[in-house]
């Protein structure tokens, strides 16, 4: 289970702010979507199903990109774990 840090602020347009470090990030629409779902407490499986329903992407491709995206969040120190 991936958990975003509680104090991370994000907007629908993809702006992310980490008050702990002062760093800000921009997310592309699909990344903003995923962050929104993570913040609302949805599970990884639920989010993936939502993405597969909304975007034109194969499950295999999403799986690969998901791992890479989580690595980006960790690299940016935006996750609890």
């Amino acid at each position: 289970m991936i958990q975003l840090r509680k104090n991370i602020a994000s907007s629908d347009s993809g702006f992310i702010f980490n008050p702990a470090t002062g760093d800000s990030y921009s997310a592309n629409p699909i990344a903003a979507d995923i962050l929104h779902h993570l913040k609302s407490g949805k599970s990884v499986a639920e989010i993936k199903t939502l993405i597969l329903g909304k975007f034109d992407v194969e499950a295999g491709q999403l799986e690969k990109d998901w791992d890479d995206f989580i690595a980006q969040l960790r690299e940016a120190n935006l996750t609890e774990n």
Partner: protein, 452 residues
């Protein structure tokens, strides 16, 4: 319901600080067509990677170059530099436009003859010419550019059994203010070696001194260096007339004009730093006209430009093999072409465009080739839209040197395709096969079998 277009999820850190005055984006439009032929169709028909050559661009570039010189000087002749791209069809486009051939080896010389270039319109340059090659060149009345004294004596020795007097020029190296001086080729002007060679040629009575040649460097960024070179060659030409009673018929200024590729490590793009061909033409022609030659003794201006005439006409189409993240978090993209095909990646920061639609999101990445070899890096850092496996890209300005310096290393060389002026595609060189690569190999009998 139509699903939305997918793009890999991405976050990017926003950096506060001084703005980059050049901006961060390099590409705003995908390149989906080359000369109106869809990139997708080319790749579907000829595979990926594939080299594509635009006949229209070659002809247009050549005509522009010719115009730049002919409008400034009455007697101009281009000779196509075979080593820059010696795919026969490419050479023939230049020959159709009126270009002679400039070759630097017996192999290239025979290629030019095979293409149908008359022997007396071939300039034979280079430091290696065998007896057999020199005899062939003399029999064909080609212009032989002597590179060193050993070659001069070799040629004089051969003249006894030759049907005609060889027509020769010497290659002259000199200080034009550009460093390093290319003094490994030809005879030096400043220390008097060039003059010494000229007097020996005339004194031998066995050679017909016809021209003077220089090639002061490559990817030259100063037009003034050519003016210096013209002055020095013309000084020799005047001395030939006054002291050796020999009129020099042509001055060959070589090539070395840059293309619009950006050199690795350059701060500004080439379009901002490189002089135009008109500036080189102006420097060369105006200096030549100021030398006081009589109208009927005005030497022919010979040019051997290669890179500037062909680079823009060549494209390399390729596909993304994989995406990965390096240990420091950087994105790495692996393409199906590497330095085996794109030799010029060692010198240039090639412009690379995606061949499909993309959003405004981009990321910095390292672009690797497919070779299992650490040197195989096409761009150390490049900012591109998000690329997925199977996406296509177009590498621009690859017409010079890549199709001659490419390596059959690990991978075989791909198809080379021409788009003609009507938009039809033609295969110029077939993709290599294992049988082609192995046809020259021999297997000793005792090595034919083994048990594992």
């Amino acid at each position: 319901m139509q699903k939305e277009k997918y793009e890999r999820p991405l976050i990017q850190k926003m950096n506060a600080g001084l703005m980059n005055k050049f901006g961060t984006r390099t590409e705003y439009e995908p390149v989906k067509h080359i000369d109106n032929v869809p990139v997708k169709e080319i790749i579907k028909k000829y595979g990926s990677p594939v080299f594509v050559i635009s006949e229209r661009t070659i002809r247009r570039t050549y005509q522009q170059a010719l115009r730049a010189f002919r409008t400034r000087y009455p007697k101009v002749q281009f000779a196509w530099s075979y080593k820059t791209n010696y795919i026969n069809a490419v050479c023939n486009i230049f020959h159709q436009e009126g270009s002679w051939a400039e070759v630097v080896s017996g192999f290239e010389y025979r290629k030019a003859l095979g293409n149908g270039v008359p022997g007396n319109k071939i300039l034979f340059n280079g430091p290696e010419k065998t007896n057999e090659e020199l005899e062939l060149a003399v029999a064909n009345d080609s212009l032989i550019h002597i590179d060193h004294f050993d070659e001069l004596y070799q040629l004089i020795e051969l003249t006894d059994k030759m049907p005609r007097k060889p027509r020769v020029a010497i290659r002259v190296n000199m200080d034009t203010g550009i460093y390093p001086i290319w003094d490994r080729f030809g005879f030096n002007y400043e220390n008097g070696t060039a003059w010494n060679a000229l007097t020996k040629i005339v004194a031998s009575g066995k050679l017909e001194l016809t021209g003077l040649h220089c090639h002061i460097g490559t990817y030259m960024l100063s037009a003034n260096a050519y003016a210096v070179a013209v002055n020095k060659l013309c000084d020799l030409a005047h001395n030939c007339k006054s002291q050796l009673n020999t009129v020099i018929k042509y001055i060959d200024m070589g090539g070395g004009f840059p293309s619009s590729n950006t050199l690795r490590g350059a701060y500004l793009p080439a379009s901002d730093t490189n002089p135009s061909l008109d500036e080189f033409a102006e420097a060369i022609c105006s200096t030549l006209l100021q030398q006081g030659f009589k109208q009927d003794e005005l030497p022919l201006l010979m040019l051997e430009s290669g890179r500037a005439l062909i680079d823009d006409a060549g494209y390399l189409l390729g596909s993304v093999l994989a995406n990965k993240r390096l240990s420091d978090g950087r994105r790495a993209t692996i393409m199906d072409f590497g330095v085996n095909l794109l030799f010029t990646a060692f010198w240039y920061e090639h412009k690379i465009s995606p061949a499909q639609d993309f959003t405004h999101h981009t990321e910095d990445m390292v672009l690797y080739g497919p070779l299992c070899m650490n040197i195989d890096m096409v761009r150390e850092t490049i900012n591109l839209p998000l690329l997925n496996r199977g996406d296509h890209v177009v590498v621009h300005r690859v017409g010079a040197y890549n199709m001659t310096q490419w390596m059959q290393f690990i991978q075989m060389r791909p198809n080379v395709v021409l788009i003609d002026e009507k938009g039809e595609t033609h295969l110029l060189r077939e993709a290599e096969t294992l049988a082609y690569i192995e046809q020259l190999e021999k297997m000793p009998v005792h090595l034919k079998e083994f048990n594992l």
